[in-house]
Amino acid sequence: MNYDTIVIGAGIAGMLAAIGRAEAGERVLSLSKGHGATHWATGCLDLLDIGDSDPLAGIESVIALHPDHPYALAGIDAVESGAERLRAACESGGYPLVGSLRRNLQVPTAVGTLRTTCLVPVTMAAGDARQLPRQGDGSGPLLIAGFHELRDFFPPMVAANLRTLGFAAEAAYLQMPPHERTLDFSTVSLARLFDQPAFCADVGRQLRQLVQHGIYSRIGMPAVLGLANATQVVSDLQSAAGALIFEIPTLPVSVPGIRLYRALEATLLQAGGRIQIGSFVQRAEGKGKRLEAIYSEAAAREQRHYAARYVLATGGIAGGGVRADHAGVMIETALGLPLRTPNARADWFAVRFLSRSGHPVFRTGVAADAGLRPLDAVGHVVYENVAVAGSALAGCDPIREGALEGVAAATGWKAGRV
C-alpha cells in the first residue's frame, strides 16, 4: 500500500505529526519498533524548566539565543499549537490536561522534590505546590499515601523530603484491598485494580478514616489511580475521602504516560491513520534528495514501505533512534542520516552524573533546517521529503532543559504541517 506520509516512531512527536497529516486528509502510517518515551516519562507536558515563571517567554529567549535549537526550528507558534493539540486530544479522551502555557507548575516527585512542568493531567492538578499546605500555615496537612506492595513509590521518603522544603507532610501505607491474587504489583496492574469500583471504594474508605484522624486537606498518591477511568477514579476517591487527591508520577512504567499515549492513539485512529507497532525500521533507499522507500524488520521478515513523505521521530539515544558502537561511532538507526555529535568520545560525558550542564553525548541528533528537513555536515538538505521531530533532533538535551514533551509536541506538530 502506498501512503502519503509514513511516520517512524510513536512517541508524542510522531503521533502528533501523524495526527496532523491524517487530519489534513492524508493516508498515514505510523510505524514503530515499540512504544515511545510516553511510557517512561511523567505523562505531563514539560516546556522549559525555568521555575514557576512563564515558559513561553523562556522559550522565546531560547529561540533568540540558539537558532539551532529544536524550539527555534519549530517556532513559537508551533510550540503553542502543538501543546494545544495535545491538550485537545486528551480532553476528548475525558482526561484533560490543566495549566497555562504562560505559567509553569511545580509538583511533587516520588522522591519528594518539586519538578517543574507546564500542563498536568487533571489527576495531578491538586499537587500544585502553590496550593500545598506549608508548616505553620494552619491548614490541614498533606498526606502521602501508598502501598507496601508497590515497589515504585515510598510515602515516608516523599513526605520527609517535602518537609525539608517546608511543607506540612505526613506519610501512611494503606492496606491492599481484597483482590484477585496477584503476585507482582506493577504500576500498571495496580492501576487496573483501581478501575474496579469495589477496589477503589475500599481505598476510599481507608482514606476517609485517615482524613478524619489527621485532618488532612490533600492526599498525594502514586500515579496508579486507574488506567481507563482515571478522571473518574480520582473524583470518586476525593468524594469518599473528603480531601483533594493528586497523583505523583512513579518509576516507569508510567501509567499517566500510557493514558496520554492512548488519547493520542484514539485521535489518530479517529482521523483515519494506521498504526503498526513492532516494526523496526532499519534502512532506507533514497534517490538524489528524495527518500524512496524504507524497510522494516518484524518477525524476522523485511518489509518495504513507500510514501510521498516521511517523518523521522525515533527519539534520541534513549529511544533507540541514535546508537553508538564500542569504537565511539554514532549512527542514526532508521535512515542512516548524518548526525551532529561531540567530536571525540572523551568529550561525551561530564564527570558528575547529575551535572547541571548534562552530558554532551545526549545532545547528539540530526541537524535540521526550518522545515525540519535533515542536513548534512555542510548544511545541505539530505532528503527534501523527510522531516525530523522530537528527541532525534540535535541541539538540545530535552531532559536537562525540562523540555522533553514540549520539544516533541512543537516539532512533531510542525512536522505534520510542513
Binding site: 515510598f154 521518603m157 525539608t164 507482582d184 539515544i317 553508538a324
Partner: protein
Amino acid sequence: MQTISTDVLVIGGGATGLGCVRDLAMRGMRAILVEKGDLTNGTTGRYHGLLHSGGRYVTKDPQSATECAHENAILRRIMPHCLEDTSGFFVITPWDDPSYGDIFAANCRKTEVPVQEISVAEMLRREPALNPQISRVFEVPDGSADSFLAAHTNALSARTYGAQILTYHRVVELIRTGDHVVAAVVEDLRTSERIYVECGFILNTAGAWAGQIAALAGVKVTVVPGKGTMVAMSHRMVNTVINRCKLPADGDIIVPVHTVAVIGTTDIHVPDPDVYGIEPHEVQLMLEEGEKLVPGFTQHRALRAWAGVRPLYKDQDVANDRDISRTYKLLDHQQRDGVDGIISMVGGKWTTYRLMAKDAVDTIAQRLGNTRACRTADEPMPVPDFEHRSGNHAGVGAEKLYWLGKPLAAVEEEHAYGDLICECELVSRARIHAAIASGASNLDDIRRDVRMGMGPCQGGWCIYRTTALLYEQRAQAAENASADRPAFDIEHANAAMLHFLQERWKGLTPVLWGDQLRQARLDELIYIHVLGAHRLISHAEQGGGLVTEER
C-alpha cells in the same frame, strides 16, 4: 577521648585483615579490626573474583603457584558457600606461542598445581562460545569466588569468637614509646569522634595502603599500587575460568562471577592507591583480547568497568610491575627496622589470604606467648544471615555452577516476585532488609552484600527503592532509640542515593555505548525527569556523613 585496650589491633578490612582477626580470635587473643571504609572497600572488593589454581604463576612465580594450589584445596573445604567450582582452562590461541604448552604442563607438576590436558573437542563441548582455533587445552582447579561474601563470612566468624570489627574508622596516629608502638588513635568517620586504642601489637594489613600505615609508625614500606582494570560483561559467555596459556599479560583471563563474566586485567603502576582513572584504551584492549578467546566478545554488552590496586610489595629493583612476586611478605619491623610492636603483611592475593593470616598470627602469638595452634584450615565457616535467603550457597540446588535460576528458586519458594527490589539480580526486599539490619550504612555497602544494582540496568530502579527502604528502616531504628549508630535522617538517605548514583556512573562511563549508553539515558530520564533527584544536591551537600569519601 575514649580509651579501649586490646591484644592486637588489625588495620585494614580486606581479605587479609579479616582472615587475621578471625585467626587471632580463634586462638583466644583479644582483637580489634579497623577499616576506613566498609569491609572489602579496597582491593578485595575490586578484583575479578578468581579462586587461583596457581596456574597463572607456575612459570614466573613458582612459590606463589604452590601456595595457591594448597590454599585452593583448603578454601574449598572451609568456605564452599563463597565459591563456585567452575574449573578453569589454559588455552593456546593462534596468538600464543605453541611451545609454551609443554613448559606450562611441566611447571604445573613441579609446583603441585593439578593439571590435565584435555582435547580441543572436549573443551568446545564444555564451552561452545570459545574460539575454535585454539590448539591445546589444560584443565586446572580454578574457581570463582565471592570476595564480599567471604569477607562477611570471616567477619561473622571472628565476631562469634569475640573479635570487634569497626568499619568507617580510620587510623590517624600510631603512638610510639621509644622504639615500641603501643597504641593507635582511630577516628570514627561518621561522628568524627576519636578513640585511643592501647594494644599489645599492631598488625598492618592495609594492602595498597600499608605504606601509609607503616609511615605513621615511622617505618618505610614500599608498596607499589598496581592498578588492574576489569570489565564486567552482561552474560556468562563462559561458565568456566578461561586463561590464555602464556605468561600473564593484559586481558588474558575471563572469570564467570554470578550473573556476569569479568575480563581482566591490566597492570599499571599508579602513584597513589586512591587516585586513578580508567582509560578508554584499557577497555578497548580488554575487549580486543576478549575477542581472541570468545569470538563476538565485543558485541556483548559491557556492564561496567572498574579497577583495583594490587598491593605489590617491592623489596628490590624490578623493572616491570608484573615481575614483582605475587607471593606475600611478612615484614617484622623489629628485625627489619628496629621498631617493635608492629608487623606488616604485604603482597599476596585473595586465594592465599588464610595462609597469610596464619603466618602473621603465628608471629604475633609467639611474641605474646600464645601457644594455641591455628585451626583456620580445618574449621568450616558460618553462612551470614543475608545470604541464607539467596539460594546461592552450597546445599540449595544440586547444580555446581551459579545460575540465576538458584535465587529465582528461592524467590519462588517465598512468593517474593512482587517484592524484588533489584530485578536484574533477583534481590528481594527481605534480603535488603537483612543487609541493612546487619550494619550496611549506605547503598554501596548493601550492593557488596547482596549484589543490588550490579545487573544490566545498573541501578535504574533499585537505587531509588533501596534508598527508600534504607530510610524507612534506619529512621525507624533511630526513632526506637535503640540505635547505637548515629541518627539517620532523610538527608543521609538522599546523600546515600546521590553517592551511589555517582559511584555507578564512574564505573559506567568507560563502557557506555550501545544498549548500555541507552540505559544510562533512561537512568537520566528516571532520576532527573521523573524523580528530580538533581534537586537534592544542594541540601545533600550539607548532610550525609555516611557516605565514603570521594575518590
